[in-house]
Symmetry: C3
Subunit: 611 residues, 3 copies
């Protein structure tokens, strides 16, 4: 569709003043209000005129669009208008010479009035002004619009709109703010242009720096594209003021992975401008109870996300899953994220199920490139954190070593990260930190313990306190383990299976201290470790069970736990069998009343496994 008419109706952009208005020209305005003698019309937020009642052609309501011709601009600045109704016309924008500037340039414009084109990333009503968080390709900054204490300014502006803002730049110390004098949603074509410009520039800005990994690793080299992608997605979320919810496995490896990214992201948020406390409401770290993203987790995350969106005008969050998120068990929760349009990114080292990938915009997993769980989440997280924000490298580069010993990695990268951490962090100290993390997280009960955890991994800049605290936690944890072992070891029952494996069984609810550290899974693990040491070179399987669950650990026995679970589920009618795991560790759930049948079936299968 081409406009061939010569009749032009001008639209006065938000940054224009009286100077840009010309007598004799037609403008698209909006009805502002009514008086006895006529109708007031806004040409933009700053320029208003009057259509005398004798010059009105139609009935209007407030905020109706209206086309007017400028009859006269008086010396006192009053504008006399006439309503006109051209049949055919094209519209054209009038923009002031004042150039729009990038948000990153605000610092050089302090005290001056500027024009900004940006996306609205949050709209927060305070008891004073309304705060619009603006994002463009270069930075995030706040614009404060004050109408009246506690009253929403510019109610027509919505989250995600592309707006033109004119205002004065205020600054002292290291924070900037625009005091809005006008703010309006751009017309669709302008908005499209600005959005395209912002998107392209953001895409470039979000691209991580090229850098070598902290240690040599073939697996890492093959994972590089996936890791860069995840780092880029996270950087983009930060640059567009999108909240990030980081869910992670609540063990030492998961915590290290998550804290590395937390360190990188919160520093990046602080640098990127915006609210003085943005690092608290734009980033949340939540340990998960289960080793996967449960329905209960997504329900809680969705509940908060929708409430923050409706009440505080925040964007929907990105979900970042670390040390979980790779398996079929995560799918129900991911289906929810899909419906709500939450982008999801996974950094995991559990054996991945292909089905999850359809729900993800990024997935780092060593199994994708021939690696395995020996490349721990803490290693991956730390390398990604460097890509997100290289400035934090020195602070976090010891975290992979902690993760490696915590997760008992046997990959070659383990030694390299330990070397990198040494001599400041010996292998024993890394083990102590990992145990301290597990112990403290148990008592934190799935709270993030943000500042406590920083002390444990020595990120709060108080090395002496770190050392004393880790020593204390390690001593307490070891004494609790010792006490648990004293209670349970006398109750371990052993038998030799047909395949020659030593099976050790323990009822961890009947014979262990409950609701304290170590919990049943860790208790079984400790028992297993001791039994393996007592039977060097022999095949050992440890089966810790409670009324409706069993935990399996093995050494030297080739069990396929997922297949065993599938078979038991088939064979034992009404057993309610469920569960999973890897070759050497797994867990099974069943209904309490069928425990004996399930355990018998399970033991039979273990006895058939190759040694």
């Amino acid at each position: 569709m081409t406009d061939t008419t010569d009749t032009i109706v001008y639209r006065l952009s938000a940054n224009c003043d009286l100077e840009e208005v010309e007598e004799g020209k037609m403008y698209l305005g909006r009805v502002q209000g009514f008086a006895n003698f006529g109708v007031f019309v806004q040409l933009n937020d700053r320029v208003k005129g009057l259509v005398h009642k004798s010059n009105i052609k139609a009935d209007h309501s407030e905020r109706d669009p209206i086309i007017v011709e400028v009859l006269q601009i008086r010396k006192n600045g009053n504008i006399d208008l006439e309503e006109v109704m051209p049949q055919v016309y094209r519209t054209e924008s009038v923009t002031k010479a004042m150039p729009t500037i990038r948000l990153s340039d605000l610092g050089r414009k302090i005290g001056r009035t500027v024009m900004i084109e940006a996306e609205v990333a949050q709209i927060k009503q305070t008891s004073g002004p309304t705060i619009f968080t603006l994002v463009d390709e270069s930075a995030t900054e706040n614009a404060a619009a004050f109408i009246e204490a506690g009253v929403r300014a510019y109610p027509e502006v919505q989250l995600g709109d592309i707006v033109g803002v004119v205002g004065e730049v205020m600054q002292r110390n290291n924070q900037l703010q625009i005091e809005v004098s006008s703010l309006s949603v751009l017309e669709p074509e302008d908005a499209d242009r600005v959005r395209a410009r912002i998107d392209q520039a953001l895409d470039e800005r979000a691209e991580p720096e090229d850098m070598p990994f902290l240690v040599e690793s073939d697996v890492f080299e093959r994972l590089r594209p996936a890791m860069r992608n995840v780092a880029k997605q996270i950087r983009k979320a930060v640059f567009t003021a999108q909240p990030i919810v980081l869910r992670h496995h609540a063990d030492a490896d998961g915590i290290c992975a998550a804290v590395a990214v937390e360190t990188a992201v919160t520093a990046l948020i602080r640098e990127s401008g915006g609210d003085f406390d943005a690092e608290y409401f734009l980033f949340k770290r939540s340990p998960s109870k289960a080793p996967f993203y449960e329905i209960e987790d997504i329900t809680r995350d969705l509940d908060f996300a929708l409430k923050d969106n409706i009440r505080y005008g925040q964007k929907m969050p990105m979900i970042l899953l670390m040390d979980n998120g790779s398996t079929e068990e995560d799918v129900p929760a991911m289906k929810v994220t899909e419906i709500y349009g939450f982008p999801v990114v996974v950094v995991d080292h559990h054996h991945p199920d292909e089905i999850v990938d359809q729900y993800l915009i990024g997935h780092v997993n060593p199994y994708h490139v021939g690696g395995d769980f020996g490349i721990t989440a803490g290693m991956l997280g730390t390398e990604i954190a460097r890509m997100i924000n290289p400035a934090v490298e020195e602070q976090i580069k010891h975290l992979p070593a902690i993760a490696a010993v915590g997760d008992r990695s046997e990959a070659p990268e383990r030694a390299r990260y330990l070397e990198l951490a040494a001599p400041a962090y010996s292998e024993q100290h890394c083990k102590d930190i990992a145990l301290a993390l597990d112990y403290e997280q148990f008592w934190l009960r799935f709270n993030d313990g943000r500042e406590i955890v920083k002390d444990i991994v020595n990120l709060s800049g108080n090395a002496e306190r770190h050392m004393r605290f880790v020593n204390l936690l390690t001593a307490e944890a070891n004494s609790a383990i010792e006490e648990q072992m004293e209670a349970v070891m006398p109750h371990v029952v052993s038998r030799v299976l047909p395949n020659g494996a030593n099976l050790f069984m323990l009822d961890v609810e009947m014979y262990a201290h409950r609701f304290t550290f170590p919990p049943p899974g860790k208790t079984s693990g400790e028992v297993h470790d001791r039994l393996v040491r007592e039977h060097p070179g022999e095949p050992v399987v440890t089966l810790g069970f409670g009324p409706d669950f069993a935990v399996l650990r093995s050494k030297g026995v080739m069990m396929n736990i997922p297949r065993m679970v599938r078979e038991l589920r088939q064979e034992i009618v009404g057993g309610g069998v469920n569960g999973g795991g890897h070759l050497v560790v797994g867990s099974i759930k069943f209904v309490e009343g069928m425990r004996d049948a399930v355990l018998d079936g399970l033991i039979e299968k273990i006895g058939q496994a190759p040694i």
Copy 2:
């Protein structure tokens, strides 16, 4: 007591200025402060004068009342006073011509100074001004009094006082506020007059509009007065800025009832002026764990209410119970509400015990007028919500259909509401929504999930998201039910009782997945439904039990569960038997060690019930 004296001492009202002061007249003032040369006296918040030390007759402290005569009003506005001590006198108020206006008229007085007489409904100290929420017969508005950042202005004014306020009206967009220039508690006689005026007008304003019900229903017609009363009480709470705590049964019917009222009330709060976020702190919806108002619930509600009252100056709340509240089990909690003066309103369809009514200011229950539980709480709630706020009808009119199928109503109203909801909501879709509500509430763990629930019942204006989310939740719920049935059905034990009833028994703790959806009660219900389908036309009783409880469902057997419980309690010494229910569904609690005796006794009684 009659005043016969001609000596008059005037009281200068809050809205008076220097113009209203006359030389030679006597006024009742207050000592404001001391100087070398005399004592400053306030005639009201705006008019002050000086008593020279030579004219002081007595010792005074700050804020003491004092009677003064005006010697002279100087050109610069200074007032010279003399202390006087008339033996006999009467007082009379001087009020300025300035008329008091209603809060609803503020919108027409923007930029002007007005006088308001109103009740103080909240006093909130902010880090800036003190915000007094004012209520009169017409509206709720905020008045901001600023003394100093964070300092309580007018500390003598208390919650519930009737005050006179003079201030300037500020407004832009759709919110109003009074900037206080003077604020004072009215003298008792004035206060009584104003309170009477406000009360009467509020009473009229709170009266719901007359309107037909959404569907034809004899029961509804007979319930109309009770429903109007409840709607009126709720409207009055909103108009007087009284917080409302809505407690409801955490199932699909209870949620529908509560969400209908939530929609009506929050919209009414927004319309009624006051704080920009009043809809959040003046309305709280809380699903209850038990099917009644537990001691634990009222303890929590009371804890918050008292803290909000002391710390944030809020009124004590109204309690609204939906889909619970009608039975004896609610009485202990209601006794607490009585002591604290919380008004309580019940909308329920469980068989009511008369004893509750002494604690209530409103009670809607179909049993009161010959109806029964087929008139679900969701139906009642939706009709009452329309009375509260007719504007929300279009949004909520499909909720009764969801409630009807969710609660398996067999009342004739069920079909009528389904017809009303169709074709947008088919019967199957209503069933799906009801199941989705049950499923999601299970994972919400008694959080309200305000925005999530709106999506499930399609109140957030995103029909596509609603549809996809309900489909997902329904699929997940059905698959969880299917898995539970696979585990439990092989363990159902059956026997034929002396009266010919088929009794099916299931241990729902030993043979079901625990701590997941469906929970024991719903598991028993699903089992029962399947067994009924497998035995068409036969009498069926399903008994799901755990270590210390049993859940009963029946079809075709005329059990009087409350009586059976009473008898068992008598007969089984040390059984600790408790519980209740209706004809077809009930639950029983007992001490674990007496389970066999209780179940045997129970089965014997079931075997004697008429078929």
Copy 3:
């Protein structure tokens, strides 16, 4: 090291103005910024000059120190400087005649500019100004520094710094605030001098008044020094704006102790100035689940303390333990407080283990001076509360009587406190209040219930409401106990032990209502009381047990429960035995599978105890 040079470089103190600058003298300044024509130098926050580029001797960065000589002070106030580099010099401070005033004198300086020297006790960024809470020897007050909305003013100032502040005093009503015009960290020598002055004066100010106890008591007289010390530590925390976390046993005695101190402390915080809501964030009361300070408790307290410190600039808290804290079981948590430098104070009447004292800065315990548990925590807490703040005596003086009957004290002080409380509080009414506290705390689930509890102990000034509420709670509690007794009493099994003691055994999980009031421990206690009444004069031991615990109560049997536990732990391999108690009451934990062995062993030992 002595300065012998005559060359003096002056440092201009924060309160100095242009008047204090002299031409020809040298000053130590700081580089403020750069211009084409030279370098701007600050002599202090208020006095700036210019070094023309021709007078610069070296390269500088922003905020570098620089020594300058004043060439000329122009009429317009501009100062011409020259950079100088004296080889040998001594520095001297120039201070304005303006005297520094104490914070407690602010009230007499309203509207005037003052100089304050004080410690920074909190730095809170608001969405408006930055609030520095200042503490000196006399009071706590806030200073507001505004740079820009939401921007941290004076970022170089840290928590705990000694600062010089110049600003205007603002006040109306009863709150004061300094509007900062300059604020700077004092040089080390000045800071040391001020800190010494403040510390000494605070020490004197914190000293409690000398006063007699409410009742005569030898034990109290001997405890006086320890009580004074604890009161002083608490007063000092209040005066220095250090948060206090009060952890207490969740029974009637612990609550009375804690509420007495809460009343004293919150009133003292209100008097001491600072934020309008300081009493909420500087004082937290938390009932503990266990009868000691658990790892879970300290983890939670540490989590919040560190977050408040990092995010809201609060000091690390003092921990006050009441009715717990005296035993070995508290040590693991105390080790954490030691590492984080949280001072800990204990007021307890359980038999103390000496090991705790190394972690404490104050410990009141009657056993230290030959008293015993008959001197209840509520008695101790009330007397200490009076020392903290004598003004609250009238309000709290009945609390020891409630604590005494609640804890069944048989000390002579019991009768004296009851006499003091009478006739307003009869012994029966005190018992009712104690029962009401236990009952309501059960439903509060370890929330503090701040305002509810005040009503129960009649501290909220509404005596009628108090009376009705206590009557209701007592009736409900007694009816719940009655119902529990009906369930359990028929299941009590008795036997006569070799030593002639009557042993009564009850499985409180199998035969009692669970998850309701009364909980297992109280259920056992009630059973014991009834059995003692039924067997007057005979030795009675009641053993209530569950799957992995047992609760012991005895009358007339001399058991040493701690020793019995130690022996059982030795004798029963894999029993996991733990626990403790006094002579007449104790509890034991064990692993479920070894219950029979542990109970048999325990009963054997009870049978050998002397009667």
